[in-house]
């Protein structure tokens, strides 16, 4: 009869491994397709402002020609064809989990406002996407702050300087500055989406392009 005490250390280890392995057959680790929304993790991320980028940050990235992220327009094809932020790709909201977006891609999502992108963000985070962000307030904010910056009334020197830079950025994207909008005024006409902006990229002030803290996770 084989007595356990007669086994060498290595053989004992082998037996333990086999036993643990056999028991593991019954394990339920629920990998893959379930969307488990971890409230604590998500809300912690939001509180740390890790969930979004601002229109100014995005504008800076585009001007810099950064290639380390994907800009995703989650509206439908018609809206996308009418106007989209340069360098964006179109993945309509319902198709966001279909596989076009890699789990480890760095993604910036935007819609018309902030809500749909935030919903997509939550679902993707629940799927284990770690580098997904929304454009804060979406296209609405892009138009208000980047494309059509508002001329400040009686600006200070600093505000004037900032406005002038904003005008440069606006022109780069085919927009233009405007006076403060009166209620009921006509919305500004959107530029026709060009393949590449025709104006030379403006020089950006230092630190213009720092986005949320990104965690690089390769090996």
């Amino acid at each position: 009869m084989l007595s356990l005490s007669k086994l060498s250390l290595n053989q004992k280890l082998g037996v333990v491994a086999l036993a643990l392995g056999a028991l593991a057959v019954f394990a339920n680790v629920a990998p893959g397709h379930t969307v488990k929304v971890n409230a604590k993790e998500l809300l912690t991320g939001v509180a740390r402002a890790e969930d979004h980028v601002t229109p100014q940050e995005l504008a800076a990235w585009i001007i810099e020609g950064r290639a380390d992220y994907r800009l995703v327009d989650i509206r439908d094809e018609e809206a996308f064809a009418e106007y989209h932020i340069p360098t964006a790709e179109n993945v309509p909201l319902a198709a966001v989990t279909d596989g076009a977006l890699g789990r480890t891609d760095k993604l910036v999502l935007y819609g018309d406002g902030g809500i749909h992108a935030a919903q997509a963000w939550m679902v993707l985070r629940g799927r284990g996407y770690t580098r997904v962000y929304t454009l804060l307030e979406g296209l609405d904010a892009w138009k208000d702050e980047v494309l059509f910056p508002v001329m400040p009334e009686s600006p200070t020197a600093e505000q004037q300087a900032r406005f002038e830079r904003a005008v440069q950025v606006a022109k780069f994207f085919g927009g233009q500055p405007r006076a403060a909008a009166a209620p009921g005024a006509e919305p500004m006409a959107l530029p026709v989406t060009a393949a590449a902006p025709a104006v030379a990229p403006p020089t950006l002030p230092a630190g213009a392009g720092s986005g949320p803290k990104k965690k690089r996770e390769g090996c």
Binding site: Q11, L13, G65, R66, D68, G211, G218, C219
Partner: protein, 187 residues
């Protein structure tokens, strides 16, 4: 059941203060390594690695010399994040720790000393040249594979990652395929 190979540690015994101890049972060392890997999963949600630290370092060095180029190079720019120093990366700190841990284990076992690992039939110069070339080849392989034996094989292996297992088998395959050609370097 003893396959403890008392390694005859090679030339240049200078610098060693006592006789080198035999290596630990590979299964026990493996369990230790596995537990370290598990700790990484549990604490930080990622595994081990090494080649990524080299990527960060090279990206940093290039950004010192040619910052514009570094940012526009698709491979390097991924390691250059705005607002953070490229060396403030998880893998860089981990690799520095590995250096310290290895030194510690070596000191405890009397295995620290200046030397060159090689077989008797090849010169030091040849060995060093091959080490350099081998390192370069490895770097290319690791870049394509998105990791090396620590990151892909160990980490991905434990997580049953498809690409990692394919990678692992190819590493063994590639090595066994050419081992005969380099026998002279080692035996």
């Amino acid at each position: 059941m003893a396959s403890v190979t008392h390694d005859v540690v090679d030339e240049a015994a200078a610098g060693r203060t006592r006789a080198a101890q035999p290596y630990m049972n590979p299964y026990l060392a493996g369990i230790g390594l596995g537990l370290v890997l598990l700790a990484a999963f549990v604490l930080v949600g990622r595994g081990l690695g090494a080649s990524g630290a080299f990527n960060s370092t090279i990206a940093w060095l290039v950004s010192l010399v040619a910052p514009g180029y570094a940012k526009s190079n698709e491979f390097l720019s991924a390691y250059l994040e705005e607002g953070t120093h490229p060396l403030k990366a998880w893998l860089v700190f981990e690799v520095v720790g590995a250096f310290v841990g290895a030194l510690l284990s070596g000191l405890l076992a009397g295995r620290v000393g200046l030397g060159v690992e090689k077989g008797p039939r090849v010169s030091v110069g040849t060995r060093l040249a091959l080490a350099f070339v081998g390192g370069g080849l490895m770097a290319v392989g690791a870049a394509f594979a998105r990791g090396c034996t620590s990151g892909q094989a160990l980490t991905g292996g434990a997580l049953l990652n498809l690409g990692s297992w394919a990678f692992m088998m190819c590493v063994f395959g590639g090595a066994y395929a050419v081992a005969a050609f380099f026998r002279r370097q080692w035996r």
